[in-house]
């Protein structure tokens, strides 16, 4: 096997209206099959992608928000959310979906995937990546 690389997918756009959020999610799911170290970042309007209680009935688009809950099954367990982006939109972590993963090595205990970080902390995590893909 080749060396494991660190991939970060940065999500900056609202979930609907453009295809970026859905495309990013699909790339993440496909990429997760390749045993890389995958993490996601949600900044700017990207934080809306993982908000609670999404309803797309009025816009006639598929509500794919529940797919984020499958990320844990795909061993994608690091979802960084930028604190400043949440605050600028009057949101808190409680407005986000509860996204968890099961730790096989810890009796399948459910652990939170969302990690609230400051802009400066996120910059550090980003600097540590081998590949950063922005959507």
């Amino acid at each position: 096997m080749s060396e494991i690389k660190k991939f970060m997918y940065v999500n900056r756009k609202a979930p609907y209206g453009t295809v970026y959020a859905l495309e990013s999610l699909e790339v993440v799911l496909i990429g997760a099959a390749f045993d890389q170290d995958v993490s996601l970042a949600f900044v700017d309007d990207g934080v809306y992608q993982i908000m609670n209680g999404q309803n797309t009935t009025g816009i006639g688009m598929k509500n794919f928000s529940s797919t984020y809950k499958a990320l844990g099954d795909y061993e994608v367990t690091k979802l960084y959310v930028e604190k400043e982006s949440l605050e600028a939109r009057g949101l808190t972590v409680d407005d986000l979906m509860e996204l968890t993963w099961e730790d096989e090595d810890d009796d399948y205990e459910e652990k939170p995937s969302i990690r609230l970080v400051s802009s400066a902390e996120l910059a550090e995590v980003m600097a540590d990546q081998d590949v950063v893909l922005s959507f």
Partner: protein, 110 residues
């Protein structure tokens, strides 16, 4: 393109996947299996129903690695491996079982 189910024609895409998930009835699986020359037993239905529930919950068809893990957890370790799943669905559990279950082709499946 379409398949005949209960006297009605249901639309399918060029690879045989059901065009509209909501038109699915169990007979869809039976008809599709027949075309592939396969009989569906209890174990097949168990997997088909599992996939439908997974889709209902997450809005995606799971990748094979995710599927085997989830099956192993829900239905027991002896079923949570690709050997078991390929015995049931020789054309590929994700492709064949998802198709019978009326789900779209799994993301990333070529």
């Amino acid at each position: 393109m379409g398949i005949e189910v209960n006297g009605k024609t249901l639309e399918v895409d060029e690879e045989g996947y059901l065009a509209d998930l909501s038109t699915w009835v169990p007979e869809v699986a039976t008809v599709m299996a027949k075309e592939d020359g396969q009989e569906l037993g209890e174990d097949h239905w168990e997997l088909i129903n599992f996939l439908r529930e997974y889709y209902e919950e997450y809005q995606i068809a799971p990748a094979i690695r995710v599927l085997t893990k989830a099956i192993g957890k829900k239905l027991g370790k002896d079923k949570g491996n690709s050997k078991y799943l390929y015995e049931l669905f020789p054309y590929g559990p994700a492709k064949q079982a998802c198709k019978y279950a009326g789900l779209p082709k799994p993301t990333g499946c070529v």
